[in-house]
Symmetry: C2
Subunit: 504 residues, 2 copies
């Protein structure tokens, strides 16, 4: 206690064992040591696949010649300088877990993988300030911090593969956003290499520093179009002494909205997650027999979901008895008042993890159902679930075969506390999308814009949504964005054809 000297450690965060189950398989790391990875013959043709395709098989680079895997900032700077002088295009890549094609080349760009820059540089256990390289895997950082009594300020389904540099580059949100807020608040500093190889050292370790423009902010969420993030300094929060997880079932979305308000009021500062799972999403996950998951509110039958809506509530606090009392009072009030129909609180860590899996494995389960149209939108709670209902209705009206056993499935889930909805529409892989499905999914984002939502709450723009930028931001704002790009990467070698719309 009382020791706040910065303690410098140099273990690889690869070396620490990761805690908890990961929803997304790790990339193979057989060729991890090499600076340049390029196929040398027919035996090698799959060498680059973990980098040139994403795990959902939606995005695929047509002809990526090589993957660069630098180990130091100096190497990143040297490689970028080389590429810049020769007008070679570069796609920076973290854990390749993005969902909008932002990290996958469009043509013959080389991939600059940060995977080999995975060292923890320093951690100050008194202040909770972590400095590490961009390629550190999120889950491994979280596990590394736990013995010091700290956790990472963000958590997401891809935690077992995604890298902190990619998280920052995409301004990742995720499951702890409600409690610990945006990366714009918790990132204290960055080291960034610009397109021409200039290194911007903005790696502050101070909570407060008002000297000059806060330049690092512009790289948070820039999706690798303005520079390559090589190091990150983060304020990480203390690990909560007590965590509780509850699952409640609700009869309508109106009740869900009531429960959101009630939970905020009753749980206050210990509320750390408030997730929605609709009945269709619950059924898809519970339906994967091999996973052995059950809906704890379904009774012994294992039949279909007894409620149209579920909410997962998590508290993270410093006093177990106090936190339990608050949670019990919330559930009592909600049950007595008819806001929830049923509810259960996990009695141990294993039960808590089972409940979390019901939420976290939804995207993985949907991938097994077919090709998935994924929508990640912000919507006011008043319009939140109407989007899912309208999508379902429009498909039904169009005569599309819906439901289990080969039909199109529509599920809604997401972060209620942040008004962030994930709408997934799966279509069996055997055939191309029926025209009616294409028509309905093409109307989702326009509907979101009409209802004053965001067409990308947390996944970013990448390839998938870049065309929407001019529809959601004014001409003047997009003009200044282009000015920033022009200033920092005048030749446009970084992540070309992404993020900014084509009509330049």
């Amino acid at each position: 206690m009382g020791n706040d000297q910065a303690s410098t450690m140099k273990p690889s965060c690869d070396a620490s064992s990761a805690g908890g189950a990961s929803a997304i398989p790790r990339s193979p790391s057989s060729a991890a040591g090499k600076l340049l990875l390029a196929p040398s013959g027919p035996d090698d043709e799959n060498l680059l696949v973990p980098y040139t395709q994403d795990w959902t098989h939606k995005w695929k680079a047509p002809q990526c010649p090589a993957v660069l895997q630098p180990r130091t900032t100096g190497q990143v700077a040297g490689l970028l300088r080389h590429c810049y002088e020769r007008d070679l295009h570069v796609v920076p890549q973290g854990g390749n877990t993005g969902l909008v094609g932002g990290g996958i080349p469009l043509a013959n760009e080389v991939i600059l993988s940060l995977a080999n820059m995975n060292q923890i540089i320093s951690f100050d256990a008194a202040s909770g300030i972590l400095v590490c390289e961009a390629g550190c895997v999120l889950e491994e950082l979280d596990a590394w911090l736990r013995p010091y009594g700290y956790i990472m300020p963000l958590d997401l389904g891809a935690k077992g593969s995604c890298q902190i540099g990619g998280n920052v580059s995409t301004n990742a949100g995720g499951l702890r956003f409600l409690r610990y807020g945006s990366l714009h608040g918790s990132v204290l500093g960055l080291e960034v290499v610009l397109a021409d190889g200039r290194v911007l050292d903005m790696l502050s370790t101070l909570r407060k520093d008002n000297t000059g423009l806060d330049l690092k902010q512009i790289f948070i969420g820039a999706e690798g179009t303005l520079g390559v993030i090589t190091k990150v300094s983060l304020q990480v929060p203390p690990a909560p002494a007590a965590v509780q997880v509850a699952l409640v079932g609700l009869e309508s979305f109106e009740k869900v909205r009531e429960m959101v308000m009630l939970s905020k009021r009753k749980l206050g500062e210990i509320l750390s997650a408030m997730e929605l799972v609709d009945a269709a999403a619950m059924d898809v996950v519970v339906g994967k027999a091999a996973w052995g998951l059950r809906n704890p509110l379904a009774g012994g039958s294992g039949a279909n979901s007894p409620f149209p809506f579920y909410m997962l509530l998590e508290t993270s606090g410093s006093g177990e008895a106090h936190d339990r009392e608050k949670m019990e009072e919330l559930l009592e009030t909600a049950l007595d008042g008819g806001v929830v129909g049923d509810g259960t609180v996990a009695q141990d860590l294993a039960q808590a993890q089972e409940i979390w899996k019901l939420r976290e494995l939804i995207p993985v389960a949907m991938e097994e159902e077919g090709r998935v149209h994924k929508f990640d939108v912000s919507l006011p709670l008043s319009a939140f679930y109407a989007l899912v209902e309208r999508t379902r209705e429009a498909l039904e009206e169009g005569g599309v075969v819906m439901g289990e056993g080969g039909g199109v499935r529509v599920v809604g889930y997401g972060h209620l506390g942040d008004s962030n909805l994930h709408l997934n529409v799966s279509v069996p892989r055997e055939a191309p999308d029926p025209p009616e499905v294409s028509r309905v999914v093409s109307r989702v984002l326009p509907w979101v814009m009409e209802h004053k939502g965001s067409v990308s709450a947390e996944h970013g723009l990448g390839q998938l949504k870049k065309a929407y930028l001019p529809q959601t931001k004014s001409k003047e704002v997009v003009g200044v964005m282009r000015g920033m790009k022009k200033m920092l990467d005048p030749k446009g070698i970084l992540n070309p054809g992404k993020f900014f719309p084509d009509d330049a």
Copy 2:
């Protein structure tokens, strides 16, 4: 409950009554209604004084011809376009409470005051999202939000005069930073008028929106050099149901550091302020007989401070009984373990306000002592108070007359939880600074840089500290900052001669 439709209200926030005492006198508002304020004769010579001088009398505009007071964004745009076309220089100004001369003209710039743009535009009581004009006064916004069960995410001594636009432009920190974090996290959107009159509408009301670069971030803390903030959208936190304030006395700074760790551990998520007041600061405030304040740990005598250090601890939580239990347990542990020598918890709001005044009135009390050299720095806790001790020692060694009754006074206070120290050195106004004082104060910021601190934790650069920018940030980083300025204000009409160092 369950109503999260955006409710639009149009009251002036001037109309609501402000709660709590304000440390800094409000500007006179006799001429508030006029778009253009300019002296028309000798009777008018003091008309512009509230705008052309700051309250500490340190900064004074030599020949400001006029103050512009637009009421709408359109007027701001029109005025800036006019100035831009004619190369007229403009200083944007909020409540004129800054401490580094950032809002005071250097030569003949006109002042663009946002004081008349003081309307609340909308507030959504379900989500806690407030949209208002830049000229709304911080304390009035806070008072306006309270009936809805919300508070502002920041609080500072100047709250009675400072404006939210100025707060955002200077990335103000203050007393709630520990709990609610940086404005980079809580500002959801901004409307900004660029130097040439272009309006950037970035006024999002969504908690999450990853569509395009997060441009608004670059204007937070830019001190009016890149554009004029006209509207602000903010995520505001729920008002805590229970607030407790405690004051403890400690025998050494080593004990202070122990208490910081202990308080973080015991109070966890309800800890909302952790302020340092040293004995010299306590004595200056208690010594202002007219204020009638007493040190509650001094016994009946009213004599000088019995402890070398004090800490003010505040909790803000949702459960009064729980919070009281946590605070009591902390104080018991700290007293039993000899970490603190004595302590008291305010029994009601009046007592809590009395304790807060002991901290908040330090800068006002110091102004009465003389001309004040103010330092606002970030330092690791290991070096935190050493700066105050070294400054005192160096002055004593130099033979400077110290202490009450006409001597130089050196006080240290500030935000322990954020490692943010305020060091104040007051010199009697009767004569210019003795050379020894000048020598010692000139060494403060170099010492901070040697100890890896920030020369401006929260006050910004303005006129006072712009020369330090190239010493604290690399050539490449300052180069990109200049590039941003050049892109957004190519003629350099906004706040010229500030923020950026001269050697352009």
